[in-house]
């Protein structure tokens, strides 16, 4: 199985060109652990809610708003370099690939925009609203829709290569590596498909719909379900290796570091489990319902819940808590000593 990290990572290691930094979708993995933010370097008001995560690429922070505006902000000043506006809503976290910014809309389209200029390159109609982050791999984009369709679209032209009807709505962002595509579905199944054709290789049932996105290790698929369980599946066969029960549903996508997988539950706790056995390493209260994915930064794992919280990943000890950033669902971008956060009410913060 190939590692597609390079496809979504620029030469600048501080960049986050896609959801959770790269196509591994394993929790960001910023190199250094940020300290507790002491001040706001800048704050930028978008004028409407932001429900997707920002991206960072070559000193521009890309933010999409629910009122259909995509903005490229200069990370030094927080001022817009360009804006691109649609008469549509955007909940999809964009992805950067080959000089283009890709994102889906509630109106059932995928857009490609020149990342330098903000000019439209192409738009493609798909079967329903797109909230997932388009995954870019091997020259294709992959995105699921509310109509239960998984679409593969040519990243250069926007032409559809294939689409596959699954059993439920798709709000889980796929994991793609080589010819392997893994995705959770509202029908409660985790699917493995070929990325080249959409052929289903295996499907494994959970007890309720899936809102979480999968992370993988070399041989396992890790994903949460609304049935309150967190699952570890065999990557080749889909067989359940273990599952761990939490107090409520799990929408938070997991982060993986070595032998530890970390995720949040709607019961208000952050959980760290042993990847091999599913045994609990630690459990820490987040003070609020957790639906955001955790992000790993050095020795810390950060989560957006009741503010931004950072826990020591090995012990679960709270390292710091910052009150800024009211987003309940957005993943922060951590680059060096700066943390970028999009809040629910449309404020973008650069914290140091």
């Amino acid at each position: 199985m190939t590692d597609t990290k390079a496809e979504a990572t620029s030469a600048n290691s501080g960049d986050w060109p896609t959801l959770l930094k790269d196509n591994l979708r394993s929790g960001g993995h910023a190199k250094s652990s940020p300290g507790r933010p002491s001040h706001v370097r800048w704050q930028s008001r978008m004028g409407s809610s932001v429900r997707s995560a920002p991206l960072l690429h070559e000193r521009l922070l890309y933010v999409a708003t629910t009122r259909g505006t995509v903005v490229a902000l200069d990370i030094e000043t927080g001022r817009p370099r360009w804006k691109f506006t649609l008469q549509d809503q955007i909940h999809s976290t964009p992805s950067l690939y080959a000089g283009k910014l890709f994102f889906g809309t509630d109106g059932g389209k995928i857009h490609a925009v020149n990342s330098e200029t903000g000019h439209s390159v192409w738009e493609a109609g798909v079967s329903g609203e797109v909230w997932t982050s388009p995954v870019c791999s091997g020259g294709l984009l992959f995105a699921g829709t509310s109509s239960a369709q998984l679409h593969a679209v040519d990243a250069g032209t926007g032409r559809e290569r294939w689409s596959k009807k699954l059993g439920g709505r798709i709000y889980s962002t796929p994991f793609v590596s080589g010819d392997e595509l893994l995705v959770g579905c509202g029908d409660g199944f985790v699917y493995s498909l070929t990325a080249s054709s959409g052929k289903v290789l295996w499907q494994t049932a959970t007890g309720n719909g899936i809102d979480s996105s999968p992370a993988v290790t070399s041989d396992a698929v890790l994903i949460g379900s609304e049935d309150f369980f967190f699952y570890c599946l065999d990557r080749q066969t889909g067989k359940v290796r273990w599952k761990y029960e939490t107090g409520l549903g799990i929408a938070s996508s997991p982060a993986v570091q070595g032998e530890i997988v970390v995720f949040g539950s709607k019961d208000g706790y952050l959980y760290a489990l042993d990847v091999a056995t599913g045994s609990l390493r630690w459990k820490a209260p987040a003070g609020e319902v957790v639906t955001a994915p955790p992000v790993i930064a050095g020795d810390l794992v950060c989560i957006q819940a009741a503010g931004t919280l950072a826990f020591e990943i090995q012990s679960g000890k709270l390292a710091w808590r910052a009150g800024l950033g009211g987003a309940v669902q957005a993943a922060p971008v951590i680059s060096g000593e700066t943390t970028y956060i999009a809040s629910l009410d449309g404020e973008i913060y650069a914290l140091e």
């Binding site: 809610s49 329903g128 509310s146 709000y171 509202g186 007890g207 809102d211 049935d227 319902v289 669902q329």
Partner: protein
């Protein structure tokens, strides 16, 4: 104002205290400001026979199953069966399709008004939404003409409804986190100044006013710190108009009579044809937002009816009984010693509350013609 009437509700202003049925000058509540006049601007139309109180005034069907919720998981198959039995009992029809066809035609655009506030601990169960969608499709309503909606998009997100409901139906959060009138029809509103707030109007959601032709109301069964209970009336009224939190400023509340007044505004009144109250989980303290499982009881029931007043009367009685069994004050309690301004204390201590609750909004709604509030006139069928 060519197509709509301007109804200045003098009755609701000057006679509001009488209408509410409970004088404001009760113990501890004497500092409340007087009830102001409430003006309503709705569509001028004759109320549909299907509109509240609908085809079965005073009838409430309660379906219960002890296995419908186990270890906090709602059973999809049992909900399906409970819904089928409850709908047939309500209507007297011998099939589920015939029962649903009394309310819905294939040409309808149907809004499902969920209650995601309190998600994820207590909100409208996606399992119930799925079964209702299935029932609507069984009588010919296409998926594209079904809208699951509520006011707050972020609460819908927390409930993961987007992922959990069937494909192709629309899931709509009318507004983002804060403020604004985008998503609301500014020609249909209720106006009153309760506490000197700067914005005195509450506008009806456009999806209610202009898009859907029928509404199925899906409240949860829980107490409410200001109104006594969240139920059919509050879920519908306060979930269809914006800027409603202004009606209660601790410790005082004008939820009575505003909740009923809002429900009486057309076209909301005519479009709300059926109410299915999710009592899988029952919140007996800390509503509407508590996440404290100590106060959430797995009751495993559904209430079904067309009369929101009768249903809320049953709900109020049920939650009162549960509170009595837990040894905590009545929802009608107005002892100043029971009031706290500390929300953390409120969420921990069921003997404390943030407001002088006003469950009288149910009786007030009855006086507006929305249904039957006299328990002796309610036909309460229990099915187990």
């Amino acid at each position: 104002m060519d197509r709509r009437g301007f109804v200045k509700s003098a009755l609701l202003g000057g006679a509001g205290l009488v209408l509410a049925g409970h004088a404001l000058e009760v113990q501890g509540d004497s500092g409340a400001p007087p009830l102001p006049p409430i003006e309503t601007h709705g569509l001028q139309q004759k109320t549909s026979p299907l509109g509240m109180p609908g085809l079965f005034p005073g009838r409430v069907v309660e379906v219960s199953s002890k296995d419908a919720i186990v270890r906090n998981r709602v059973s999809q198959p049992l909900v399906r069966e409970m819904l089928r039995r409850g709908m047939q009992e309500l209507t007297g029809e011998s099939s589920s399709e015939a029962a649903w066809s009394k309310f819905i035609t294939p040409g309808d655009v149907v809004g499902l008004k969920i209650n995601p506030s309190g998600a994820p601990a207590c909100c409208t169960s996606p399992e119930i939404v799925r079964e209702i969608v299935d029932a609507l499709q069984s009588v010919g309503v296409p998926s594209r003409n079904i809208v699951v909606y509520d006011r707050y998009a972020y609460e819908i997100d927390i409930g993961s409804y987007q992922a959990l409901v069937p494909p192709e139906i629309q899931v709509l959060g009318i507004q983002e986190a804060y403020g604004g009138v985008s998503g609301y029809d500014t020609t249909i509103y209720c106006q009153a100044s309760f506490f000197g707030e700067w914005e005195t109007r509450s506008y009806m959601a456009s999806v209610v006013a202009r898009h859907v032709t029928k509404i199925i109301n899906l409240p949860t069964m829980k107490d409410h710190s200001a109104s006594g209970v969240t139920g059919c009336l509050k879920n519908l009224g306060y979930g269809s108009f914006n800027n409603v939190a202004r009606s209660h400023r601790a410790p005082y509340s004008f939820t009575d009579p505003l909740i009923g007044v809002m429900c009486s505004v057309e076209p909301l009144r005519s479009k709300a044809v059926l109410h299915i109250m999710d009592g899988m989980r029952q919140v007996w303290h800390g509503g509407p937002l508590t996440q404290n499982q100590d106060f959430i009881y797995p009751a495993g029931i559904l209430l079904i009816g067309t009369d929101p007043v009768a249903m809320d009367t049953v709900e109020l009685s049920t939650i009162e009984a549960k509170r009595r069994s837990e040894g905590v004050p009545s929802l009608w309690e107005h002892d100043p010693a029971s009031i706290t301004s500390d929300s953390m204390q409120f969420y921990r201590d069921p003997k404390k509350n943030l407001f002088y609750r006003r469950p009288g909004h149910i009786a007030s709604a009855g006086k507006l013609g929305l249904g039957v509030s006299d328990p002796n006139r309610i036909d309460h069928h229990r099915i187990t």
